[in-house]
Symmetry: C2
Subunit: 155 residues, 2 copies
DNA sequence: CACAATTCAATCGCGCACAATACAATCACC
DNA sequence: GGTGATTGTATTGTGCGCGATTGAATTGTG
């Protein structure tokens, strides 16, 4: 027994969140393996597809809440695979713009089944899904206090 | 716009879970920095403190849902810091037992304030916390289907 | 008892994830 | 125009996290 009751692992909110996130990521992997994508790469492609324009690394990072330390190598790997192209923004050469290639775009069709398959895998009710989503958004919003990140602005 | 509506990043349940988990982990860091602990190390200490007996790497891994590829180096670092000791189980030498040292045990008192401080940081209502916890457990349970991991057995 | 099958932790290889730092480009101000 | 301050991305260093593999120990079977 832990000496302090509040230190019991089973009483931590953080732990199930941490565990569930990893488990969900893991559940995606068999669906993404045929396309040789990791889960963060999948999310990155989602973010890129959702915008009609090229996005900067920074904007992508804001969206995905990842910094360039993570994104740059990840995008480089996607570029090596021919799914995206990265080039300096002529209007401000500090910025790097990310373009989805034709191959990257076509992948959209290949992956269209993934969200549905995952929902089937989870077997969660719509109500529970919506409630979970709401609570997570709330948690994220409160953790964002003082961070200045735009949460819903892109929606 | 994504060509397929279900591929919109904002419609994914997985993404807020992923983002919230990382944000929560990040929120812990300032509280753990004075003790030179990372969040996974903190969880590991929690798991160790909650048991009166030495735990094997495997049991710890079951508890934390981490495999030895992650745990072994993590425990080695904790051992280097004198917080735990690792030794082979004489009853079955395939197993490694993990003992909390006096220093590791004393850390419990130092960290007793952390969960409360985090709850203050989040500012989430008790009801929301309980609901979130319930939904996460539910999600974890469904993702565990077929994995054979003991979910509540340790409680 | 001998040997195949299984188990357990460690290792290997790779991809994250992030704080700190570096560098070039741009902005702000005089 | 010149210079200091700020910005945006890349790099560096470290700690995960996990699938695949390895080596030793244990278990199961004949």
């Amino acid at each position: 027994m832990a000496r302090h009751a509040q230190l019991e692992l089973d009483l931590q909110l953080c732990f199930p969140l941490y565990a569930a996130s990893r488990a969900l990521t893991k559940a995606y992997q068999p669906l993404l393996d045929p396309f040789d994508l990791t889960y963060p790469q999948y999310l990155t492609m989602l973010a890129l597809w959702s915008s009609p324009d090229d996005q900067t690394v920074g904007a992508l990072g804001d969206r995905l809440r990842l910094d360039s330390g993570t994104l740059t190598p990840l995008l480089k790997r996607l570029e090596t695979r021919g799914l995206v192209r990265r080039h300096r923004d002529p209007a401000d050469e500090r910025r790097v713009l990310v373009t989805v290639t034709e191959a990257g775009d076509a992948l959209q069709d290949d992956l269209a089944h993934v969200p549905g398959a995952l929902v089937d895998r989870i077997g969660m009710t719509l109500d529970d899904g919506i409630a979970l989503r709401r609570l997570l958004d709330k948690l994220l919003a409160s953790l964002d206090d003082g961070d200045g990140l735009a949460v819903g602005a892109a929606s």
